[in-house]
Symmetry: C5
Subunit: 306 residues, 5 copies
C-alpha cells in the first residue's frame, strides 16, 4: 500500500493489476482508493458488456478481449476491467484474457506518453485489446472462405451440408459484434476529450483506436450479411440439385419404362395375339424397344435431363 | 391516512402498496394525494406498456415484471405501477407480479439511501424488476440451445419438426422486447437526473440499472436474429434431407428396376424367342441381373446416393 | 352563420360539422372563416394520410378512423378532417367514419375542459379516434391467432393453405401502420404544447393519446414481424410434410416393389427354370415375398418412414 | 437577350426554357446569367439524382418526371433542371419530360403568385412534377393487384409463374423510390423558408408538395414490402401445390400398384400354383383387386390426397 | 528537399508523390514535414478504410480507388493516402491505384484553382477517384443485367444455375459499399468548410463530389436489394420448374402405367380367364389401352401437366 501513498504525490500514479480477485482481496483496494460501490459489484461479477461509466471524477471501463481458437472454430472472450482515477489505475482480469505484462513494459518505456497519466494506461490497454481483434477477424474471414467453398462445391459429399457450420459461424459473428460494438460509443467519448482525466495529446490516439474498432465492427456486419446470403444460396443450390436429380431419375425411369410397358403387353396370355406367332415378332419388338430407349436417351441428353 | 399526514412533514414520505385495487379503494388514495386523473385511469386498467409520465411535479411509472415458466416455456408478465410524489410513493401491482416486500425490507435497512426520498424507492423497485429479467433471459437462452439441438439433430424423429417451437420462442422473445425495450428511454431520463424529484446520488444507480436493462434488450435482439436463422437453417436442412432421401429411393428404384425390365422382356409370350430354349438361358439372365444390380449398388454407394 | 358571429365574442367558439361537403357547401364556410386554400383542397379531396398542418395561427388536422369488419376480416378506414382556429372548429367527415355526436355530447358536458377552447375539441376527437383503434387491434390479434393455428394444424385439409390469408392479413396490418404511424409526430407536437392555440392543461392529455397510439403502432409492427415469421414457418412446415410424405410413399413403393421384381423374374418363360417345377416352389417364393415385405414394413416403421 | 436586360429591372424576372441544349446554346445563357460552372456541367450531362444545390445566392434544382407506360408496365423517367436566381429562371428539360407549357400558362394567370418571384415558378414546376407521380403510383398499384391475383390464382396455367413479373415490378418500385425519395430533403428545406430567395407566402405551398411527395415515397415503400411478401407467398404456394400434386400422384400410384403386384404374383410360371386352377380364381382375384383399389381410392379421398 | 524550403514561402506549397514507400523513404519526408506518428503508421500499413483524420492543423485522408476487371467480373481496389498541410501535400499510393499524373497536369493548368492551396489538390484527387467509380458501377450494372437474364432464362442449361454468380456479385457490391460509403461523412465535413485549411471557393466543389459519391453508394445499395431479390426469385423459379417437371413426369407415368396394369392382369396364368379365349379379346384390350392412354394424354395436356 506504500505504492498508493506514493501515488498521492502530484504527477505520479500507481497501477494495480488483479486477476479474478476474491471479494476480500478486492475490498482492500476498494477502501484505499475509494472506488464506487457499483463498479466494484461489476468488477467481481464479470460477464459485463463493454462499457465506460463515469463515477464523479473516476472512470470504470469494461473491455472484452477475444482470441480465435482455430481447433474449435470459435472465438473465446475474456474480460478486462479498469478503474481509472486521478492517480491510480486498477486493472482486473477475468478469464483467459491476454496478459497485460506486455502493455506494462511498453508503456513504462514510453516516458512521454506515461506523463499523460492514468489515461495513457487506459489507451495502451484499449489499443492492445482492439489490436487483438485483428487475428479474430482474420480467423473468421478464413472460416467464411471455407464455408463459401463448401456451399458452392458441386460434388459435395452426402452428409456434408454446410448449414450447421454457417449457423455456428453466424453465432460467432453475432457474438463478436455484441462484444465489440458497444465500445464504439465510449471510444468516441474518449476521443472527444470531454471525460474527466482526459489529456489533449491522447484524443488523437483514442480516435485511432476508434477507427480500428470501427473496422472490426464493420467486418462483423459484413460477415453477417454474407452468412445470411450463404444460407440462402445453399438452399437455392440444394433445390437446384434436387431438380437436376429428379430429371435424371425421371429420364432413366422413362427409358426403363418403355420396355416394361411393351413387355407387359406381350406378356398377356390371350389366345389370339397374332404378333406372338410371327417368326420375327420377338426380334422386331426387341429392336423397337432398343431403338426407342436409344432415342429417349438421346433426347434426354439433349434437353439436359441426363 | 395518518401516515399521509406524517408524510407531509419535511424530509419524510409514505409508501402505500396496493394490489389490484378496486376503483373505490383507489379513490381514497387518489383524493388524499391529488394523483392525476390520467394516471389513475391507467392504474386501474393495467395492460400498459412500460413508461414514465411526468404530471407536474409527480412521476407515474409503469413497469413490467417477468417470470419464466419452465413447464410451459413461456414468460409470464405482470405489472407494477408507481406514483412518485415529493412525499409519497404509491405502488400498484397487477397480476402475479413479484412481491415487493423484499424491496421494502431492503430499502428500510439502507438508511443512507432512504434519505434520497421517494426516488430511492423507485430505484429499488426498478432495480428489483430489472434484476428479475436475468432468469428469464437464462430460461430463453436454454430454450434457444434446445431448439438449436433439435434443428441440427441428424436423426430427428418424424413429427418432431422444431418449426412450431421456433415460432413460439420467437413470439416469447418479441414479447420480452416489447415489455422491456420501451423502459430504456425512461431510465435514460432518470439517469440524466433532470426529472422532478431527482437526487444527484441516485443518477449513477439509475445508469447502472439502465446498463442491466440494455443487456436484457440486447439479449432479446440477439435471440431474435438467431431464431430467424434457425428457421432458415431448419428449412435448408429439411431440403437437404429431402434430396438425400430422394437419391436413396431412386438408387433402390434403379436396382429393383433392372430385373423388372428384364423380367418383362422374357415374360413376353412370343413363340420364337431363342433364348428361352437355351439350356442355361435362365441362369445366364439371372447372373446378369444380379451382376448389374450389384454394380449399380456399388456405383450408387460410391457417388453417395446410398 | 349567426353562430359564427357568436363565435367572434371572446372566450367562445363555434363547432361546425360537415359530412362529405360539396365544394359549394364548403365555400360558404371557407369564406366566413378564412380557411387556407390548401387545406380546403385537401378537405374536399379526402384520401389524405394523417397529418397536422399549421397555417399561420390555424391548424388543419387529418385523421383516419378505423373499423374492423369481422365478416370480411378487413379494416375499413374513413377520414375526419379538422380546421382549428382561435374561435372555431370545423370537422369534415368522409366515408363511414364514426359519428362525432358522442364526442360532442361528451365535451359539452365537460365544462372545465371546454374552457380550453377549440383545442379541447381536437383532443376529444383525436382521443375518440385513437380509442377506436383498440377493437381493430383486437380483431387483427384474433385473426393472428387463427392464422397461427392454421399454420401449425397437423391435419390441415387440402386446399386450406394459410398463405393467402397470411398475405391478406399482412396487407391489413401494413395499412393500419400507414394510417396510424404518421400521426405520432403530430401528437408529439401537440403534447409539446408549442403549437398555436395550445393550452397547458391539454398537453398531458395529448401525451396520453400519444401513448395509446404508440401502443397501436407497436402492435402493428409486432403483427408484421409475426406474419413474416408465419409465412416462413408455413413454408418450413409444408417442406417437412413433403419430406414425410415422400418417405411414406417410398416405403410403400419398396414394400410393393419386392414382390413385383420377384414376380417379374418367375414370370419369365425360360424352358429351363428348375424352381418352377419344385413342388413347393410357389409357396416358398410366396413366403419369402411376405416375409421380406413384413421385414421392410417393420424396418420403415422403426426409422420413422411409415 | 433583351429579356435578360428587362429582367435586371427590380421586381421582374425572366424565364428561359431549354430542351436538351447543346453546350454552345447553353454557353450564351450561362455567360449572361453567370451560372455556376458545376451546375452547368450537370445541366448538360443529365442523369442526375433529384437534388437542390445552393450556389451563393442561386439555386440549382434537379427533378425527375415520371410517366407510367401501360403497355410495357414500366415507368419512364425524364429530367427537369432549374436554375433559380434573383431575377431569372432557367428550365432545362432532358428526355420526354412533361412539357412545361401548361405550368407557364397557369402561373402567368396567377398574378398574385407570380409576384413572389422565381421561387413561385420553382413551386409551380415542382408541384406539377409531383402531381404527375400520382398516375404512376396508380399504375403500379394496378400492377400490384394483378400480380397478387396471379400469385393466388389456384388454376394458374403452366408457364404463368408470376416470379418474373414480381421481380420486374419490384425494380420499377425501387426506381420510383430512387427518383423521388432524395427530393424530400430539398422540399423540407424549401418549406423551411431558409433558402436564398425564399418567400414566406410560398413555404406553406412547398410543405403541401412535400406532403404529396411523402405519400408517393410511402406508397413505393409499401409496394416494396408487399412485393417481397408476394415473392415469399408465391414460393409457399408452389411448394404447397408440389406437395398436393405429389400426394395425388402417389395415391394413383398406390391404386395402380396393387393390381400390378397381384398380377406379377399370379403371372409367375410355377407348376404348382393351386389358385390358378380354381374355377373362380381369376374372378376372385379380380374382385379383390377392384375392391382394394376402391377402398384405397376412398381412403385417399378421405385424407385429402385425391 | 529544396522544394520543401520553397514551400515554406507564403502562398506556395509542395506536392510530394510516393508509391509504396519503404519506412526509410518515408522517414525523410516525415521528419521534414513533421507528420503525425499515427498517420505515418497508417500510411505504411495500407488496407485502411476510407477516412479523414485531423491532426492539429493537418489532414490525413485515405481513399480507395476502384477498377472494374471485366475478365474476372471483380472490382480491384487500391489505396491513395494524402497528407494535407498548410504548405505541402504528400500523396502515397498503394497497389495499382490509378496514376495521379493526369490530376497533376490538370491542376497545374488551373491557376485559379491552385491558388486555393493544398486543399485544391485534395479536391482534384478525390474528384478523380470518385469519377473512377462510375465505370465500376457501370460494370456491375452490366453484370446485374446478365445475372437477371440468367435467372429468368426459361431454357437454362443444366449446371448453369446463377446462384454462385449472384453470391459473388453480391460480395462485390458489398465491397464497393464498404470502400465508398465511409467517405461520405468526410466529404460532408469537407463541403461544410469547417476543417483546417478549408477554402470557401472549394466547398461547392466538395459538395459536388459528395453528390457523385452519394450516387455511387446509392447504386451499391440498389444492387444489393436487387441481388437479394434475384436470389429469392431464382429459388422460386427452380421450385416452380420442379413442380412443372414433376407434373410432366407423373403424367407420362400415368399414361405408361395403365397398359402395365392391364398387362399385369392379363398376364396372370389362371386357367379360367374367359377374356383370354375371346377371338378379339386381345384387340379389344389393345384398343382400350390406346384409347385410355390417348384420353389421359389429352386430359393432362388440357390441365397443363404436359
Amino acid at each position: 500500500m506504500d505504492a498508493l501513498e506514493a501515488a498521492s504525490e502530484p504527477d505520479s500514479f500507481v497501477w494495480i493489476g488483479l486477476y479474478e480477485p476474491t471479494p476480500e482481496e478486492f475490498e482492500a483496494v476498494r477502501v484505499e482508493l475509494g472506488l464506487h460501490e457499483l463498479a466494484v459489484e461489476d468488477a467481481i461479477a464479470a460477464h459485463q458488456r463493454p462499457k465506460l461509466e463515469v463515477y464523479d471524477e473516476d472512470l470504470f471501463v469494461v473491455l472484452k478481449t477475444a482470441r480465435y481458437n482455430d481447433a474449435t472454430e470459435t472465438v473465446e472472450y475474456a474480460e478486462i476491467q479498469l478503474f481509472i482515477g486521478a492517480n491510480y489505475v486498477v486493472t482486473v482480469r477475468h478469464g483467459e484474457a491476454s496478459a497485460l505484462a506486455d502493455v506494462r513494459v511498453k508503456i513504462e518505456k514510453d516516458l512521454e506518453r506515461i506523463r499523460c497519466g492514468p489515461m495513457a494506461v487506459l489507451h495502451a490497454v484499449v489499443d492492445h485489446v482492439v489490436d487483438d481483434y485483428a487475428p479474430v477477424v482474420a480467423g473468421l474471414d478464413n472460416d467464411m472462405a471455407e464455408v463459401e467453398d463448401a456451399v458452392f462445391d458441386a460434388n459435395r459429399p452426402r452428409g456434408l451440408d454446410p448449414t450447421q457450420r454457417i449457423f455456428k459461424l453466424k453465432r460467432e459473428v453475432l457474438d463478436l459484434h455484441r462484444n465489440t460494438e458497444p465500445f464504439l460509443e465510449p471510444l468516441a467519448r474518449l476521443a472527444s476529450g470531454a471525460l474527466p482525466g482526459a489529456h489533449p495529446e491522447l484524443t488523437t490516439y483514442f480516435r485511432d483506436v476508434e477507427d480500428h474498432l470501427t473496422r472490426v465492427v464493420g467486418a462483423a456486419a459484413h460477415f453477417r450479411t454474407l452468412l445470411s446470403d450463404a444460407l440462402d444460396a445453399n438452399l437455392a443450390i440444394v433445390t437446384v440439385r434436387q431438380n437436376d436429380d429428379m430429371r435424371t431419375i425421371s429420364a432413366w425411369l422413362a427409358i426403363g419404362g418403355f420396355p416394361t410397358v411393351v413387355g407387359a403387353v406381350y406378356g398377356m396370355n390371350f389366345d389370339n395375339m397374332p404378333e406372338l406367332f410371327w417368326e420375327y415378332g420377338y426380334f422386331i419388338v426387341l429392336a423397337v424397344m432398343l431403338a426407342v430407349c436409344f432415342l429417349l436417351y438421346r433426347r434426354f441428353k439433349k434437353v439436359g435431363w441426363l
